[in-house]
Amino acid sequence: MVEIRFHGRGGQGAVTSAELTALAAIGEGKYAQAFPSFGPERRGAPVMAFVRVSEAPIVTREKVYEPDIVIVLDPTLLKIINVEAGLKEGGVVILNTSKSVEQVRKESGLKARLATVDASKIAMETMRVPITNTTMLGALVKVTAIIEIGSLQDPIKRRFGPIAEKNMNACSRAYQETKVVEE
């Protein structure tokens, strides 16, 4: 089983990212759970969302405490949240940032394996909005291969309707441009 934690701010689509990941996995015949950090929703406030993906039925309802993967949709969160908290040994943090891995490491002190992509830029260029949820999914697929990129097509289409294609383009571009640092 792979467990993923998304960090974002209310309105950036972290919850949608989690949902689309689960729907794509379920579409592949796998088992998945997606859920937000339960409670009131506030635009702009730090939010989390969670996904479990597994080949076997998932028989647990506890929260995700030790994710294999952490995805950070908003670079400003690094200053206020320890995004590495609970990350499993060998886990990966996938960051939306315009900075180099070295610079991020220096500024944030993150110790985990990192993957970076300038999702804000990609989202602005392909969709003209700074919402990075579908963009970051391209990075997720690049880093982990827990789902195939094509499996996102159907859930994205159903969620976004007329703007689905732009979202899929942003997702594909992020898949191409994500840099994974092996250490």
Partner: protein, 392 residues
């Protein structure tokens, strides 16, 4: 054919209610039940469901409208939780006494104060003595199946009682997961049209819910009690019919690895799932642990529970509510089980734990700790109940 889909549990439940061809939905939104009611309103507004959606001004009005529509012979659904249930509860007694087969989904949530929108079983227990049948789900599939079953059970002419379908708020209601969604035609085959025993009809006037003087009140109460009593075997028979058609078998009490278990956990709702994973881990270390999961809380399946736990030396009984009884008796679920054990001359070592209150997570580790606590305690050392995970 049923189709495997990924879907939020609330939406799936609402879709299932829609597929049951409900006639009237009267409900007031309250977190975390909101998505269920919103989606039903959407289905009606968009013309996918031919039903009357009554947007009432309170839960009290919701149940009042449900009583009226069910009495008129309409298949009726509502949903609520927590404070909403509390406001509605006065009418819930009346719905059951009038033998009206209303179905209600309860997205279980704590009752204030402190104000808390998260999951525990305070509302489930609040409803315990209202004369409704109470079904408990542990995952999305069960929430969907039990909603379909609820109409079949409620409307069975031999039962004719209102039914609650309980699902844990947020930890189930807001989770996207895979499940098999039956098709309308399959449900139609399983669920015949609603034919009420009696209904309000201007052509053949009758009175429902009149005053009951002391000379008839006891008889009315006994008749209602008999109805709930005799519903128990009928519910199992309907579960068996469902299994024949859909291949998923439900039981009043469901067990996991209890056959040779020295320690048995008894739990209700979604935490039972986490418990099963904890049991696998404990078994891998040679610890003989199992679980009995309560699927139907009213009518209470005492005989089935006693059978399930008969061989165990230790019992870990869970309650997701504070009972405020003064400290010397256990929580409500444990009390029922202890009473059944006493009636059957069984005296295992029993620990009762109050867990998962107001959204506090219950982890696999917690289950291991509770099992360890009971197995290592000396007889007589365990209190009537204990809170776990408390900061002091």
């Amino acid at each position: 054919m049923s189709k495997r889909i990924g879907i939020e549990v609330s939406i799936a439940l609402a879709d299932a209610v829609g597929l049951c061809d409900v006639d009237v939905v009267a409900a007031y939104p309250i977190t975390p039940q909101t998505h269920i009611v919103e989606h039903l309103a959407e289905l009606v507004a968009e013309g996918h469901l031919d039903a009357d959606f009554v947007p009432v001004e309170s839960e009290h009005s919701a149940m009042s409208a449900c009583i009226g529509s069910s009495a008129a012979g309409a298949r009726t659904f509502t949903s609520t939780c927590s404070q909403g249930y509390a406001l509605m509860s006065e009418l819930c007694y009346i719905a059951s006494a009038m033998r009206l087969p209303i179905v209600m989904a309860v997205a279980n949530r704590a009752i204030s104060a402190p104000i808390n929108i998260w999951n525990d079983h305070a509302d489930l227990m609040y409803a315990r003595d209202t004369g409704w049948i109470q079904l408990i789900s542990e995952n999305g599939q069960e929430a969907v199946d039990l909603s379909i079953l609820a109409f079949r059970i409620a409307e069975d002419q031999g039962i004719s009682l209102p039914v609650q379908v309980n699902l844990d708020g947020f930890t189930m209601s807001h989770v996207i997961e895979p499940l098999m969604m039956p098709e309308a035609a399959e449900i139609k085959e399983f669920l015949p049209p609603f034919k009420p025993v009696l209904r309000l009809d201007p052509a053949k006037p009758i009175t429902m819910g009149p005053v009951g003087m002391p000379d008839v009140f006891t008889e009315a109460r006994k008749a209602q009690d008999e109805a709930l009593k005799s519903s128990k075997p009928a519910i199992q028979a309907i579960f068996d019919l469902f299994a024949k058609q859909f291949g998923r078998q439900y039981k009043l009490v469901e067990t996991y690895k209890t056959e040779d278990a020295e320690t048995i956990i008894v739990a209700m709702g979604s935490i039972a799932q986490t418990a099963m994973t904890a049991i696998d881990a404990m078994r891998a270390r040679g610890n003989k642990v199992g679980i009995a999961r309560i699927r139907v809380f009213r009518p209470f399946p005492a005989a089935e529970l006693v059978e399930a736990v008969r061989g165990a030396k230790n019992l870990v009984l869970l309650d997701r509510v504070t009972a405020f009884a003064g400290g010397e008796v256990s929580g409500p679920v444990a009390l029922e089980i202890k009473s059944a054990l006493f009636d059957n001359g069984l005296l295992p070592k029993v620990g009762n734990f109050l867990v998962g209150l107001g959204g506090r997570d219950v982890t696999q580790q917690n289950f291991e700790e509770m099992v360890e606590r009971v197995t290592s305690a000396k007889n007589g050392d365990l209190p009537a109940y204990e809170f776990i995970n408390v900061r002091e």
